[in-house]
Symmetry: C2
Subunit: 304 residues, 2 copies
């Protein structure tokens, strides 16, 4: 595997804006993707958790991906293509490969609980065999708090042995840096991303590739600055700034607040809409929290 072809750096799980008809809004979405890249994101991970990816329909995901690939180099896209349904995960992954996506980020099937490693191996294995395309670069998505299905080191080892050219990396949203380090240490060829900028320094120090972070949707610039500073070994100031922004953001319901921030600074209330089961933040609560971010942390992103 040629690491040059892979992903690294700061990636954003792109927020999904909804139009007044309730459907994903392609124009707002593409505009946000472009902003994220301008701000320093090295690549984009649409349809992740922060994107409300699992709340989107099969067709919605495919159409939106085609829309963004018209503008953004698809090699920079790592869409979430997981589903409890193997058939749908295959269809989404095949579609992403067909339009040239640099990778796909694949949750384990998360309806049935306590699956065995054999069952999970077979899920990923059948996906890879059915997509049957050597352009497929699959990133495992470990997020036990949402899925209740952790991906074990044994499972990763088996998959990597069976499909060394397809299993390209892993996003670890476990929040457990010991697990992230164990994966990096056991599988040096994998591109491993932490799910949070808070763990970026330790992830990079251990040999990881970067982070795929929700906060990047509004703070891509500061997080990219942190990444660059970490690379050059002088990250004290940018680390403190990113930590302060993060701490303030995490006090609110994450996805609704990120959308409220974009809505506020773009002066576009429609941006604040989330899809059920999430709830849009009450306007006054969001406004107060946004004001606090600006007043206490001087954080006021410019989307112009």
């Amino acid at each position: 595997m040629d690491r040059e072809q892979g992903f690294a750096g700061v990636m954003a799980p792109v927020l999904t804006p909804f139009g007044e008809d309730g459907a994903p809004d392609a124009d707002r979405f593409v505009e946000h993707c472009e902003w994220l890249l301008e701000q320093g994101c090295s690549a984009l991970a649409p349809f992740g958790t922060t994107s409300e990816g699992p709340s989107l329909g099969l067709d919605e995901r495919m159409e939106l991906l085609e829309d963004v690939a018209d503008t953004v180099d698809p090699a920079l896209l790592m869409p979430g293509t997981g589903s409890p349904s193997l058939a749908d995960a295959i269809a989404l992954s095949q579609h992403a490969v067909d339009i040239g996506c640099g990778g796909v980020l694949v949750l384990p099937p998360y309806y049935f609980k306590s699956p065995t490693d054999d069952g999970l191996f077979r899920f990923y294995s059948e996906l890879i065999e059915e997509v049957a395309d050597n352009r497929l670069r699959l990133y495992l998505y470990n997020f036990p708090r949402m899925t209740a299905v952790p991906l074990s080191l044994d499972l990763i080892a088996r998959l990597l042995t069976a499909y060394p050219d397809q299993i390209a990396g892993l996003k670890d949203s476990s929040g457990d840096i010991a697990n992230t380090k164990a994966v990096i240490s056991a599988f040096p060829s994998l591109e491993v991303f932490s799910g949070s900028e808070a763990l970026l320094a330790e992830t990079l120090a251990a040999g990881g590739a970067g982070c795929i972070s929700a906060s990047a949707n509004v703070a891509a610039g500061p997080i990219r600055q942190l990444y660059d500073d970490l690379q050059s070994g002088s990250a004290g100031k940018s680390a403190a700034r990113v930590a302060a922004i993060r701490e303030a953001i995490q006090r609110q319901p994450l996805i609704p607040f990120l959308k409220a921030i974009v809505a506020h600074y773009r002066e576009d209330a429609q941006w604040s809409v989330v899809r059920p089961p999430l709830e849009t933040m009450p306007e006054d609560v969001a406004a107060a929290a946004i004001r606090a971010l600006a007043d206490e942390h001087g954080f006021a992103p410019r989307f112009a």
Copy 2:
């Protein structure tokens, strides 16, 4: 709401057979549906948990439903149409209503954890508003062990108040008879099903409608006998028989074992296949367990 139009009795969450190409097998599926009705199932719940419903693709579910509706009166069908994706849940529910299904069984969105009742209300509410068809009869599917998203009495009350003509019932797979009774007692107009024949007696005694039970896939006859005996107040013998069969079945991995039983007695090994992340039982383990069912409990279903 006219109870006569609704569901009651013993229903089966129909097992989904897969063909040699890995896709759902319509011929085997329809044959099994017909057998279940002949054996005494009052109606069928395809695409439930036992059906591996969440493992099936959007198109697979629609095509299979059309295939069975060609043979079975669609008024007798209550397909599972839930999905973490509101868009897909709407598409599946609309499709089921369009082909005349008597009801739809709808899981809450199960990716995001700890949703609020407001968020869940909005999920079901938008589904009902978007389907926008007064033939829609929605059965709530409460299965916290799989979804980690329990449906509260408050949520049910709000939905029933807002949509008295659409919210028709609830399947309670919580395994908590106190919860089942609380639902029945609070909402006498709802058709409430337990998720297990083990709780059928108590559910009926409390005023519930019946059970939707995995075991019915192989033991529909004995469970129907139990239901009839309970109605006439003399269920001792059939209750003991059903309990013994259930206890033996539950010792094995449930869905793979049910499929192994069908495969064995239909002399059709293809029937034993499950989709990842579940695992097909090793043939010798299944054979021994099937033999024990026959030898110790005289249980050997006839599928001819």
